[in-house]
Amino acid sequence: MTTHRPLGFSIRRIALHGLLITIGIIFMLPFIWSISTSLKPMNELFAVRPHLIPNTIRWENYSDVFENIPFLRIYINSIIVTIFRTIGQVAIASVAAFAFSQLRFPGRDVIFVALLAGLMVPDQVLIVPRFIIMREFGWFDTYQGLIIPLIFSSFGVFMIRQYFLGIPRDFHEAAKLEGANPLQIYWQIYMPLARPALAAFGFLALLASWNEFFWGLTVTSSMDMRVIPVGLALFQGQYFTNNAVLMAAANLATFPLLIVFLFFQKQLVEGVALSGLK
């Protein structure tokens, strides 16, 4: 969209960078703060005017994380659960999104809005019936209990549907003329074309799953089945929280997300760019 200039200099560009850097610093503050806090000894945590750079650096906060709770086990649980939930959500939501955006069947729009209603009710008021369903299934403290109820994403259906609607329907018609069935059209045409949206949704689903707290707390009871957000909550006590250890744990939890984000943001913008209609 930008015009190419041999040297990247212009007043507008410098102004833009200036603006982005200013906003960027504000955006980075909490991140810097959480790193700084994670390295502080306890007596520096209470300071009324906190120092950004700790007077004494205490690396042991990071090893304390592993001493307080079985963090490694919890970490692995989160990885397993997140992988399956993300794949499940993308697969189920994209198939449904294709049907909602490309196929005609009775009740389609009503069903679609009903799915959205799933996003409009706070989890807290549904928790008891859902708890009982888990009890009847015998899924407490299991991976299937953590994973399966959360692989149905109305958010994903809606997001991918919108993207599919934006793809010129000529692709669909052309494939249909060649005798492809809807599943083939979905898989061979729409999925590759929607790569940026799938990458975006995939990453957001992964993020949501990694940070999911309420369900993870409700369906598990033993320490061996807990997931990261529940583990982090365990660092917050009734009367006292060592914020340094908490932040150390939080940073350990966040770090892989940033790596994954670096990878995804490329997919997101450098996926298959539509080449328009020929």
Binding site: F46, A47, I127, F131, M223, Q238, Y239
Partner: protein
């Protein structure tokens, strides 16, 4: 209209009504049936004694700081009852009650778990807890004469004992020795009246240096409840149906505290919102004195700060809010005998000794508190243990603790200056009554 007509119509109406009522009951019942095998009041019949059968029970609690002590207790219990396996289930504090409610409603929860006094009437009144009367004050059972009596009473509901305290906490006055030294003021004594306390706060207040004389927290347990009790006021009437804290004594207590805010002797509410007194302003050395709980002693002892502690100031009488946790048993547990056995062990000489040795909390049993004192040797922590003698519990109605939240809301507004100091108690009572009556 003749009588016969009338009765006929009545009967018809009645039948229709009852059919409708039946449908409604049916619908609610369907939901209920799905929801809960919530027990209807378990009778007082005794659970048959444990006879060595294999059993697995879960033990729910929230404090990771006590995990090591609990591991040791479970280990020791295993030696006594090798056929009972105890699985610990730790729930984060912030979500503990929510989880418990959900699990009880969902019909599957911990066999044995921690509870606080406020929740005993709530769960006890609906039969969700198993009475432990059969193991209390019997031969080889739990000896309540070694425990703080006000707490033992708090764990009974309508004459049935559901638990006994495992530990307790009381409130005392922390002060920062360095600040007193710097100001050349003598440390607070053991014998402080409200007036003495106020005079000390004025003496220590130094706006220029950013030092407040007193740190008035917004918490009831650590702050205003103590003053209410000291002035001879109580929160609720005998039936626990009405809030009577708007008595002259209650009114005076809240006005006394609010005056500290008016006169700038304590950090304002806006400042406390960003910098909680107990977690920031006091340990950082911006506040000279603060009334706080025994549970803070360990944290403060671990800091380099020079902090010591004396008994709370008093007014008409000495008083402190006392609180403690109990182990209770879920009424629907499949292993009531094993659960009773475990609870009995936790409150036995051995169980309380192990808890005491961890130094993580004050064990409820008299004589087991040395390790806790040793862990906080840098201050005169004995005052917390001595305070148990004049400890007073907050009353707990069946409707739950919502009324306490209502009072906290009003008091915070009062401290922020939105309510006149002498009106705080009145408005607090109004707000609490709305929750109690509702």
């Amino acid at each position: 209209m003749t009588t016969t007509h009338r009765t006929a119509i009545d009967r018809l109406v009645k039948r229709r009504m009852s059919r409708r009522a039946a449908m409604q009951v049916g619908a609610a019942g369907a939901a209920a049936g799905m929801l809960a095998r919530v027990p209807q009041l378990a009778g007082a019949q005794d659970v048959p004694a444990y006879e060595g059968e294999e059993a697995t029970i879960s033990y729910g609690f929230w404090d990771t700081a006590q995990e090591a002590a609990i591991d040791a207790q479970i280990e020791a219990f295993k030696a006594v009852q090798p056929n009972i396996t105890v699985e610990k289930q730790i729930v984060p504090w912030a979500d503990y009650w929510t989880q418990l409610q959900t699990a009880v409603a969902g019909g599957q929860t911990f066999d044995v778990f921690w509870i606080n006094t406020a929740n005993v009437p709530v769960y006890g009144s609906v039969g969700a807890l198993l009475p432990i009367t059969q193991i209390v004050d019997v031969e080889d059972g739990i000896d309540t004469s070694l425990l703080p009596s006000s707490l033992v009473e708090s764990y009974a509901f309508e004459g049935v004992q559901y638990g006994v305290p495992r530990d307790f906490d009381t409130i005392a006055l922390f002060y920062n020795k360095d600040l007193f030294d710097a100001a050349g003021v003598e440390y607070p004594g053991e014998d402080l009246s409200w007036e003495d306390y106020r005079a000390l706060a004025e003496q220590m207040n130094d706006e220029g240096a950013g030092i407040w004389g007193a740190g008035m927290q917004t918490s009831g347990q650590e702050n205003y409840t103590n003053y209410v009790f000291q002035n001879g006021a109580i929160y609720l009437n005998e039936d626990l149906t009405e809030c009577i804290v708007d008595s002259p004594e209650g009114t005076e207590a809240f006005a006394y505290l609010a005056q500290y805010f008016v006169d700038g002797l304590t950090p304002s509410i806006a400042i406390q919102q960003a910098n909680p007194v107990a977690d920031s302003l006091f340990p950082a050395g911006n506040v000279a004195m603060m009334t706080g709980g025994s549970f803070r002693a360990g944290t403060y002892a671990a800091l380099d700060a020079n902090i010591d502690v004396v008994p709370l100031p008093y007014s008409k009488q000495r008083a402190t809010a006392i609180h403690g946790l109990a182990n209770v048993i879920w009424a629907n547990t499949e292993q009531p005998a094993a659960a009773l056995e475990f609870v009995k062990f936790l409150h036995s000489e051995e169980g309380e000794t192990i808890l005491g040795e961890s130094g993580s909390t004050i064990p409820a049993m008299a004589g087991k508190q040395d390790a806790w004192l040793a862990a906080n040797a840098s201050m005169n922590a004995q005052v917390f243990i001595d305070a148990a003698e004049y400890g007073q519990s907050v009353q707990d109605p069946v409707v739950g603790p919502a009324w306490q939240g209502a009072i906290a809301g009003v008091v915070t507004e009062g401290f922020a200056g939105d309510i006149e100091p002498d009106q705080i108690a009145t408005e607090a009572a109004v707000a609490a009554n709305a929750e109690l009556g509702g």
